[in-house]
Amino acid sequence: MPIRCVVVTPERTELDRVVDSIILPMYDGELGIRRGRAAMIGRLGYGQMRLHTEAGIESFFIDGGFAQVDQDVVSVLTSRALPAGSLDVDQVESELAEALAAPSSSPEQQRLKAASVMRARGMLRTAIRHQ
């Protein structure tokens, strides 16, 4: 039972295809979507989005944003959607180390640091899972 998935970034429409099911990285955990899901709008976190298709599983790293499910169309609005295969574990690890080393003396810096650490961890999880 197929469902349509559209991934849109501000630069282009990254993906528009029919899949069997989708697993989205929400703000507070993963969410699986199949045909017939009730309409919803959700806030996305940083992590792996998996598309189950006839050919197998495809995975992408999603950099926050929003997801909307309406009439069996899943629209994902994100600032970046990278194919999991394009992530390099070593590089992501160094990014995480860099994010962890960032200063956090003011509340604003703490907020920025927390966001960049979460993003790097999400990226690392995606890269490791894909290996």
């Binding site: 929400m26 969410l31 929003f66 604003e108």
Partner: protein, 294 residues
């Protein structure tokens, strides 16, 4: 009558210039098409964001956010001007600069402190000439500004606005309406007053489904407002890039046509000069023959 050889030399050099302007026109056309595609992509994104906001409003969520509230006594305003890095694009930069100067004056009279930022070498030089001091200068944006870099600038503005370092952010750029119409405009990006405007745009949505909000409508609203500011800023950069390419395309088309006209004119003058030279020579020969016959 001008020297035929000098005329020919001039005609050749104009031909070379015409080749260059023609190539520039073709390049601008190709870049314009690419830039237009990007602008269409960002429209797809903003449409979706607008729909989400409209659904939040339809669900009875109260749209309140610090970024939407106008501050009573603005102390510091920031103005961002978008110009191009390169010239040969007709009146593109001049018209933006003509819009900036009166706006700077009106802001200076209403707000105690004004900071001016500028993108594009032409704008940097133009404002320097007009003795308007600029703080942040960006020269890295060409015909395809990347979202990552603009997001950084947007985040910095959001931080300054949240901390009260700035109370208002205006932008001057060339808005793209159609291929034949681009107008330099001033828009206020912060506070984001026009979210209500986007509400109206998304109101005509055909879906009547009841939406579930995860984790909550407030949490989505908290995230969507900064995102819509970032995308709005990105769209301004894209509009400016498209308008620049259109302006260059038209300017170079005009230059190519003028070069063609000039070549025609010069060819005519050259032929006349050549003819009169030949006539002169014949007259001399006839004169010589007649002198000998006597």
């Amino acid at each position: 009558m001008a020297n035929a050889r000098a005329l020919d030399k001039r005609r050749k050099s104009i031909r070379n210039i015409r080749k260059i302007t023609r190539t520039m026109e073709l390049i601008a056309t190709a870049r314009y098409k690419k830039a237009m595609d990007r602008a269409a992509a960002v429209t797809a994104y903003t449409d979706q964001i607008t729909k989400v906001v409209a659904r939040l409003v339809a669900a009875g969520t109260e749209v309140q956010h610090p970024l939407l509230e106008t501050r009573d006594q603005p102390q510091t305003a920031r103005l961002l001007c978008l110009t191009s890095n390169r010239g040969l694009c007709g009146g593109y930069n001049a018209s933006v600069l003509r819009t900036i100067v009166p706006h700077v004056e009106s802001l200076r009279s209403s707000v105690p402190e004004l900071i001016v930022d500028v993108s594009g070498k032409r704008g940097i030089n133009g404002l320097k000439y007009r003795q308007i001091e600029t703080t942040d200068r960006y020269t890295q944006f060409e015909d395809q500004p990347p979202f990552d870099e603009i997001e950084k600038i947007a985040s910095e503005y959001l931080r300054q606005y949240a901390f009260g370092e700035i109370d208002r952010l205006d932008i001057v750029y060339t808005k793209f309406f159609s291929t034949s119409r681009q107008v330099p405009v001033v828009e206020t990006l912060l506070p984001l007053g026009s979210l209500t405007e986007t509400d109206g745009g998304g109101g005509g949505d055909d879906s009547t489904s009841e939406f579930e909000f995860l984790p909550s409508a407030e949490s989505i609203l908290e995230e969507i407002i900064p995102t819509s500011f970032k995308v709005k800023l990105f769209k301004c950069f894209l509009d400016a890039a498209v308008s620049e390419q259109v302006a260059r395309m038209i300017a170079m088309k005009g230059a190519t046509e003028s070069a063609g006209d000039m070549i025609k004119q010069l060819s005519m003058t050259y032929n006349r000069a050549r003819q009169s030279q030949i006539t002169g020579e014949i007259m001399e020969i006839i004169g010589g023959v007649e002198a000998l016959a006597k």
